[in-house]
């Protein structure tokens, strides 16, 4: 993994660079800027999902709920209680961390299908609370005029471009965190849990604690995404917390690629584009998108980034095999060298 020579790193950087240039091209088209920025907010929440699903292999369906908590924390505190955006944002982060940690305490007693359905129930409880607790959340009338983030007199975040860059920077931080986790021992611990929980347990990984932290981290990122979603859109309703939102995130992560660094971002952007493309068909878009989701899980379960990553792996493998072969040939045909090369090919394949 030597830095910039790794095609994966280059790919991620290219995607980020292209995205950073969006305002240069579409700077004057407010609608497009807003759609892209909302896509970025979702991407942040999807990165949260990626930590628990992609790294530990547990499907959490509460992400929409945490997104909603973040959105409502900012929405309600900046309007009804007149807090500044940043203090409300801090409250959203702390709130989702606490709620995520507490629900994780119970949720993580279960695993696999039980965990998925249990977290779906948590998400639904959050949604019901938001849509029914009228005296606090205004239920279906929603929250209007959510404040823009304060720029401290230097920056003005009320323009779409500035807002875009703000969310973009937050996203960069999120991507970097994901990347850092993936590289660190924490990431390897989580991946071990995905491979086999019993094995991880046996070699001394504290499975419970790692999963607990992963779940809380994913909840916080969901909350961060929601918080920015509230300020970008300016109006939020209970839909922001619905189970459908979770399913939407799931589609983003699936299209992009689970457990990859660039996947959630690529997936969010592509599916957001598809949604916009089928905008005119409204609810009918799922007549097309439904089968696409199914086809994707069947034929390309690793998503776009995972698929491209497969090419990279294949090429590296080929290179190494060729290197081994040429080495074997240059050592002037000692018979055991060829067996070495084929053995290494075999080892690569079984990886």
């Amino acid at each position: 993994m030597n830095g910039l020579k790794n095609p994966r790193v280059i790919g991620t950087l290219v995607v980020l660079l292209l995205l950073a240039l969006t305002p240069v091209v579409f700077g004057n088209e407010n609608y497009i800027m807003r759609v892209v920025t909302v896509g970025l907010c979702s991407a942040i929440a999807v990165y949260g999902m990626n930590i628990i699903l992609g790294f530990t292999g547990q499907l959490s369906l509460a992400q929409g709920g945490f997104f909603g908590i973040g959105a409502y924390a900012v929405g309600l505190l900046t309007t009804d209680y007149d807090w500044s955006f940043w203090s409300a944002f801090a409250a959203a982060v702390v709130g989702t961390a606490v709620i995520g940690y507490l629900s994780g305490l119970i949720a993580l007693r279960t695993k696999d299908e039980y965990f998925a359905i249990f977290t779906m129930a948590i998400g639904f409880i959050i949604y019901l609370t938001i849509s029914r607790w009228e005296s606090v959340t205004h239920a279906h009338s929603g929250v209007n005029n959510v404040k823009f983030p304060e720029g401290g007199g230097i920056l003005d975040f009320s323009t779409p471009t500035a807002m875009f860059y703000l969310v973009f920077v937050v996203l960069l931080v999120t991507v970097y965190i994901t990347f850092a986790i993936r590289r660190s021992s924490v990431g390897r611990t989580l991946l071990t849990i995905r491979t086999s929980e019993d094995l991880a347990d046996a070699i001394g990984v504290s499975v419970g604690m790692s999963k607990q932290l992963a779940f809380a981290a994913s909840a916080v990122l969901g909350g961060v995404g929601g918080a920015f979603y509230a300020t970008v859109v300016g109006f939020i309703g209970p839909d922001a917390a619905s189970v459908d939102k979770t399913f939407e995130f799931l589609m983003f992560i699936l299209v992009g690629g689970m457990g990859t660094v660039a996947g959630p971002l690529v997936g969010s952007m592509i599916v957001t584009y598809l949604f916009e493309f089928f905008q005119d068909f409204q609810a009918y878009r799922f007549i097309v998108l439904g089968p696409i989701i199914i086809a994707l899980v069947i034929f390309a379960p690793r998503g776009i980034v995972g698929y491209l990553g497969g090419f990279v792996d294949k090429r590296n493998r080929k290179k190494r095999v060729e290197a081994a072969r040429s080495e074997a040939n240059s050592k002037s045909s000692a018979p055991h060298d060829t067996t070495d090369a084929s053995a290494s090919t075999h080892a690569e394949r079984t990886k």
Partner: protein, 288 residues
């Protein structure tokens, strides 16, 4: 007291509906090891197909439910063959995601055909009975009776008939079942078909009480999942007990506390039970 008895009957009727829906779901989990998230949308389609045969084609109510059940039986088989079969060796997350795709697809199709507006289904069963001073609508009595009859038939089917026994055998041990000559793929298709059939009967029965809409399956989907998790995934007695417990809890809390609490009680019970016993009330040793 009258109100209590009335609500008790309403609870039993609701429990009957949940039960028919939950049993199919738990059977599918037992045999295929898949939490079929598209179950609620099969319920919705079942209601619409019944509606179609009852109003548009104009066959009698019972026949409409019967035909709809057969249509959904075939759809269930197709769903297994086209969606779940290709995924049988994938991680469980992939099944759930594919099922979500199917769910969105079914909802969009229903909306394309019947529109997003609520529809009312008229029923030939009218009137009400007086039991212990409470007035119980005949439709609810029909639901309770049908649920009991269907459950009895289903038990007979699984315990006595050869095809039903293959379901139970596969549920107990897939490899063992294959070794004695049972085709697990056929059993998987049969099970999904059966679950779609059962949920259609539930939908056909309850549709005259509730309204029809493309999203009508959503809340049922979540509740039925709460039920089978509560009872223990794959457990039939668990599904039956869970259905009635949650249904009665739901009707009682919505009567005596508020409808919002009634809606959320299923999930509160679920959280409470899983906090104490993470594998549900009637869990079996699940093979992986």
């Amino acid at each position: 007291m009258t109100l209590f008895i009335q609500q008790l009957f309403n609870g039993f009727a609701l429990g009957g509906v949940y039960c028919l829906a939950a049993i199919g779901l738990t059977l599918v989990f037992g045999v295929l090891r898949i939490p079929n998230l598209a179950h609620g949308s099969l319920y919705m389609l079942g209601a619409y197909v019944t509606y179609f045969f009852l109003t548009t084609v104009g066959v009698p109510y019972v026949a409409a439910i019967g035909i709809a059940a057969l249509v959904l039986f075939c759809l269930g088989i197709l769903l297994e063959r086209l969606v779940f079969r290709p995924l049988q060796n994938s991680p469980h997350t992939h099944h759930m995601i594919a099922a979500i795709g199917a769910m969105f697809f079914f909802q969009a199709v229903a909306q394309a055909i019947w529109g997003a507006d609520f529809r009312r289904m008229e029923t030939p069963i009218s009137g009400s009975l007086h039991i212990l001073g409470a007035e119980i609508s005949a439709q609810r009595i029909v639901i309770i009776v049908t649920a009991v009859v269907v459950l009895a038939l289903l038990t007979w089917f699984i315990k006595r008939s050869i095809h039903g026994q293959t379901i139970e055998a596969t549920e107990q041990d897939r490899t063992g079942a294959a070794l004695v000559g049972i085709n697990p793929s056929m059993v998987a298709m049969l099970t999904l078909g059966l679950s779609a059939l059962l949920v259609t009967i539930a939908a056909g029965l309850v549709a005259p009480i509730n309204l029809l809409s493309p999203t009508m399956g959503d809340s049922l989907n979540l509740k039925v999942f709460a039920i089978i998790i509560l009872g223990g995934l794959g457990s039939l007695p668990g599904a039956i007990v869970g259905s009635f417990v949650l249904a009665i809890a739901e009707t009682m809390t919505s009567t005596y506390i508020s409808s919002a609490v009634g809606e959320v009680i299923a999930f509160v019970v679920l959280v409470a039970v899983l906090a104490i016993k993470p594998t549900g009330l009637f869990s079996k040793a699940v093979q992986r």
